[in-house]
């Protein structure tokens, strides 16, 4: 029997991916260098809306080292001037006659090195005729508004209307309600800003007729299929490799024009092509998140029982609907906005609108618009509490879906798998000393100090998703795992999802270790190469553990069933006489007679029973029966400086429940990171355009990512309520904190100012915004 520890579920196994990263030996896309490789750089539009009258590349082409200049006119001849988006819209790869947002791709240059390419970008002369841009989605919907997309049959800036819930019942409850509160909330446009930008290296090998694309991709298989469909190149001739990825957060799900242009250039020129965005390009032109204009209402009884919720949202999607939501959900899972609260009815409507901005609507570390949903309900519950003079904790306890109500059918049709909301909130309140904090607040208020306590008790919805409801471009959102156990008892696991820092190479190995009783260090996990990994839809929306994690467990269990037959053969007993216990097949009633997986693996290649196939491997394509619903209770304590308006997060406690935990160290790390990406839009980040549609926040000098100085020392705790339908009981965690943190912070700031009559502040809550309020209320120092 092996003496090496298994270290399966629940162990804080140090990460297998780290030895290469801490040595600087990771392989990110920009680290790939091929012989004869050329560099591609992109000419971008200085206008948000303009007609292109002329592109003159002659000066650029005359420069030594410049190989080619590619324009929309050339791509049009190849049928590639437009490409489909993941949302059944289409998007310009390079424009033929007009640009529709600032920093849009206009032409591409190819040169022998990146400096020459950058020089050539400046040498391409483009003559524009500026057009009036439409930037406000409400104005875009007015009759006579400039048309963002004249290429469409429908001559309107309205993209789609989408609804969920029961309108009639909701309206009826609102008519008869004792109390109604309403609020406009704007959740601004933000950008994920993974520290690695996007890019690719494309190599077309004429000898093998094979196209290989190293690409910053969160979904390499889906991208391969899209590339095949768009280009007509057979899918087996395309290999997409997503190597080490320097953060994704949703920004590496869309297909960007640069990938397509680089691929075209590689095919045309027969040379490897590298295209790597610089930060400004990434921040100015890659797909954005949020930009939701929300009007929300709650109907309640006078004693604080929520009866119904009504929400209408105008969603600014920019010039192309290039979001990456599941096909049937143009507004993502926004309809989960009834949150953790039991109510009789809800109605949610969303209108998608085109504006002259870069494409919006991808996630920012969030499962398809759940951040917007959670922000809405968590703010509205506090607003209702304020209206009724109730404590924000008390109103939550009063309205929580009770533990015995699970599985809970929400008024907008979701079936929440499991939860214990009161226990989690109580744990958070006890740990942070809520009553004591309220006493302290009263004392400080009496002294004129501004201190606030904010609560957020969110429910996430992740793990898309069940094939009956979830697809992207028709491809069902199952995910996959393939496990091969080698004769000497080590194993290779290949998965359809793709890590961008989440630690899959470690956690997926732990799943297999647990299920097969093989030491975690003897298991290697590979992903991101479409030629070797099984088909999967990739990593975003916290779906890896709920989908591919489940697939890995199921594949391992298939192997275990075969192993049982081999063990029975070795022990000369019936398979039914064996039980899997303490990581071995043991004879029932004689547990000292057993075979370990290592022994069984050897026999699978050397001594397997007649009639059984040799080898020990399995594949699973896992179709989840439902989504998973992680949840948590966050408490935030802030102090506001009356002299500057600066909000200081004094303390933040996150109690998360993500079901069964595979690696507690990694889960905690994910929560720290997610909280920081919740802090960021709450206090700092916002993409701003001027009246011409020029972005004013296009570099890290203007778009403030929190540093270690702005980020508090996060405190975390947990409860564990396993998912009843996931093979391991796991739910996923990477995005919960990003959605749960912003309302906790905003609720704390508003709480600090509530005695002055402040009920809501839109994010980001900048010092200037707060100081203006302090001035208006006469409390500024």
């Amino acid at each position: 029997m092996t003496t090496t520890p298994i270290r399966g579920l629940g162990h804080p196994v140090k990460r297998k991916e780290d030895p290469r990263f801490i040595r600087g030996k990771g392989t990110y896309v920009d680290d790939i260098k091929l012989p004869g490789m050329l560099y591609l750089d992109i000419v971008r539009s200085p206008y948000a809306h303009a007609r292109i009258k002329r592109i003159d590349a002659s000066k650029a082409l005359a420069m030594p080292g410049v190989v080619d200049v590619i324009t929309g006119a050339e791509l049009e001849k190849a049928g590639l001037a437009w490409m489909p988006t993941l949302m059944s819209d289409r998007q310009m790869v390079l424009p033929t006659d007009r640009v529709v947002y600032y920093a849009q791709e206009v032409a591409a240059v190819v040169a022998t090195d990146r400096y020459t390419a950058a020089d050539a970008v400046l040498a391409v002369e483009v003559e524009y005729e500026p057009l009036t841009p439409v930037l406000d989605p409400f104005k875009a919907l007015e009759p006579g508004a400039p048309l963002v997309r004249p290429d469409r049959e429908q001559k309107t800036n309205h993209i789609w209307h989408w609804e969920a819930g029961d309108k009639e019942k909701t309206d009826r409850i609102f008519q008869e309600a004792q109390v109604v509160v309403s609020q406009d909330l704007y959740i601004p446009r933000i950008h994920v800003c993974s520290i690695e930008t996007c890019g690719c290296v494309v190599n077309y090998d004429r000898a093998t007729d094979k196209l290989t694309i190293w690409m910053t991709s969160q979904a390499p298989h889906a991208h391969r299929t899209v590339f095949s469909l768009v280009s007509g190149i057979p899918e087996h001739k395309i290999r997409i490799i997503s190597p080490d990825i320097g953060g994704g957060f949703g920004g590496k799900v869309p297909v960007y024009p640069g990938y397509v242009i680089a691929t075209y250039a590689a095919l045309k020129l027969g040379k490897p092509i590298k295209w790597i965005e610089d930060r400004s390009e990434n921040l100015q032109a890659d797909t954005f998140a949020r930009d939701y204009h929300i009007h929300a209402e709650l109907a309640a009884t006078r004693d604080g029982k929520i009866r119904a919720m009504r929400v209408h949202t105008v969603a600014d999607h920019g010039a192309f609907d290039a979001a990456a939501n599941p096909s049937k959900f143009p507004a993502g899972l926004f309809s989960v906005c009834t949150g953790s609260y039991d109510m009789e009815a809800a109605h949610v409507a969303v209108d998608g609108v085109y504006t002259n901005k870069p494409p919006g609507g991808v996630a920012y570390r969030c499962s398809f618009r759940v951040t917007e949903a959670v922000h809405t309900i968590e703010r509205m519950v506090d607003i209702l509490a304020d209206e009724l003079g109730m404590d924000p904790a008390e109103i939550r306890f009063k309205n929580f879906i009770r533990p015995e109500q699970f599985p809970y059918k929400s008024p907008t049709g979701w079936e929440y798998d499991s939860g214990n909301y009161p226990a989690t909130l109580q744990k958070a309140l006890d740990a942070i000393g809520y009553q004591e904090l309220r006493r302290e607040q009263a004392e400080r208020r009496a002294r004129g100090e501004l201190m606030g306590i904010g609560i957020s008790t969110f429910t996430e919805i992740v793990g898309a998703g069940p094939s009956h409801t979830f697809d992207i471009l028709g491809i069902k959102m199952f995910d996959s795992a393939e496990i091969r156990v080698h004769p000497t008892g080590s194993a290779i696991v290949r998965i359809g999802v793709q890590t961008q820092g989440q630690g899959h190479e470690t956690t997926f190995a732990q799943i297999v270790a647990e299920e097969l009783g093989l030491p975690v260090e003897n298991i290697i996990v590979e992903h991101g190469d479409t030629d070797t990994a099984p088909y999967g839809l990739g990593t975003y929306a916290s779906r890896s553990t709920p989908t591919a994690g489940a697939a890995t467990a199921v594949a391992a269990r298939k192997i275990r069933e075969k192993a049982r037959l081999i063990a029975a053969h070795l022990l000369e007993v019936s398979p039914d006489d064996l039980e899997w216990r303490d990581y071995a097949f043991r004879v029932k009633g004689a547990p000292d007679r057993f075979k370990t997986m290592q022994e069984i693996a050897f026999a699978a290649y050397t001594n397997f029973p007649q009639g059984l196939e040799g080898g020990l491997e399995a594949v699973c394509y896992y179709d989840p029966p439902n989504l998973t619903f992680p949840f948590g209770a966050y408490v935030c304590v802030v102090d506001i400086d009356r002299g500057t308006g600066q909000v200081k997060v004094r303390e933040f406690l996150a109690v998360d429940d993500c079901g069964t935990i595979i690696n507690p160290m990694i889960v905690e790390g994910q929560i720290h990171g997610g909280l920081t990406m919740g802090l960021a839009p709450a206090l700092f980040e916002e993409i701003v355009y001027d009246e011409n549609g020029t972005m004013l926040t296009g570099t890290f000098m203007d778009y403030l990512l929190p540093t270690a100085m702005e980020t508090p020392h996060w405190k975390t705790d947990k409860t564990v309520t396993p998912s009843p339908h996931h093979p391991l009981g796991a739910k996923g965690v990477g995005e919960s904190p990003t959605i749960g943190a912003p309302p906790a912070i905003v609720n704390a700031v508003v709480d600090a100012l509530s005695h002055l009559g402040v009920r809501h502040i839109d994010i980001p809550i900048t010092p200037a915004k707060v100081y203006q309020i302090l001035l208006e209320k006469g409390v500024a120092e």
């Binding site: 140090k14 990460r15 991916e17 780290d18 030895p19 290469r20 990263f21 801490i22 040595r23 600087g24 030996k25 990771g26 392989t27 990110y28 920009d30 680290d31 260098k33 990146r114 400096y115 994920v192 800003c193 993974s194 520290i195 690695e196 930008t197 080490d244 990825i245 320097g246 953060g247 957060f249 610089d278 930060r279 400004s280 961008q500 820092g501 989440q502 630690g503 160290m665 990694i666 905690e668 790390g669 994910q670 929560i671 720290h672 990171g673 997610g674 909280l675 920081t676 990406m677 570099t699 890290f700 000098m701 990512l705 540093t707 270690a708 100085m709 980020t711 020392h713 996060w714």
Partner: protein
């Protein structure tokens, strides 16, 4: 464009090259020397992913021309390991889960190495100040601080022996 001869030492190895005067040190390190551990995350000297040590001081190599470093000594993340032993800062990042995607990690590690050379026992506040020029989007910094504290402890524990040798000179 005219090229200028430079010579510099990188990770103890002398190099000679002819470079365009405008070539950034980070591109020299990455594209000419093929030391791709040093990363590029922005174009405004904000993110610190490209941090290297230049004559022992941390600099953002995206904001130094290679010709400026002529005659200098550069250390990158690839030069930290000694005789197959990880540097205590590298070890700390692994032990304390101080990295996720790994992209900011080399720059963060180099900044930490420089900090601990100057201040062997920094407080959490001092560590946070020191790494404020290095952006991380994954970790929320808590474990990076712990990683640097781990390294500081480890280096202090092993420092007396080193000091003894130095004292013998």
């Amino acid at each position: 464009m005219e090229r200028v001869p430079i010579q510099l030492t990188v990770n103890g190895q002398p190099y000679q090259a002819e470079v365009e005067p405008r070539m950034l040190l980070v591109h020299f390190i990455r594209d000419v020397l093929n030391l791709t551990g040093t990363h590029i995350g922005c174009d405004t000297t904000s993110c610190g992913a490209c941090t290297v040590l230049w004559d022992g001081r941390p600099v953002k190599s995206c904001t130094v021309f290679a010709v400026q470093a002529d005659g200098g000594e550069i250390q990158t993340v690839e030069g930290l390991e000694r005789d197959g032993q990880l540097h205590p800062v590298q070890e700390g990042f692994w032990e304390e889960h101080g990295l996720q995607c790994g992209f900011c990690t080399p720059g963060m590690i180099m900044t930490a190495v420089a900090l601990l050379q100057e201040n062997p026992d920094p407080s959490e506040e001092e560590i946070r100040k020191a790494i404020a020029g290095n952006l991380c989007r994954c970790t929320g910094y808590v474990n990076i601080v712990k990683a640097i504290q781990y390294a500081a402890r480890k280096m202090r524990e092993t420092a007396p022996a080193t000091a003894g040798i130095a004292g013998g000179e």
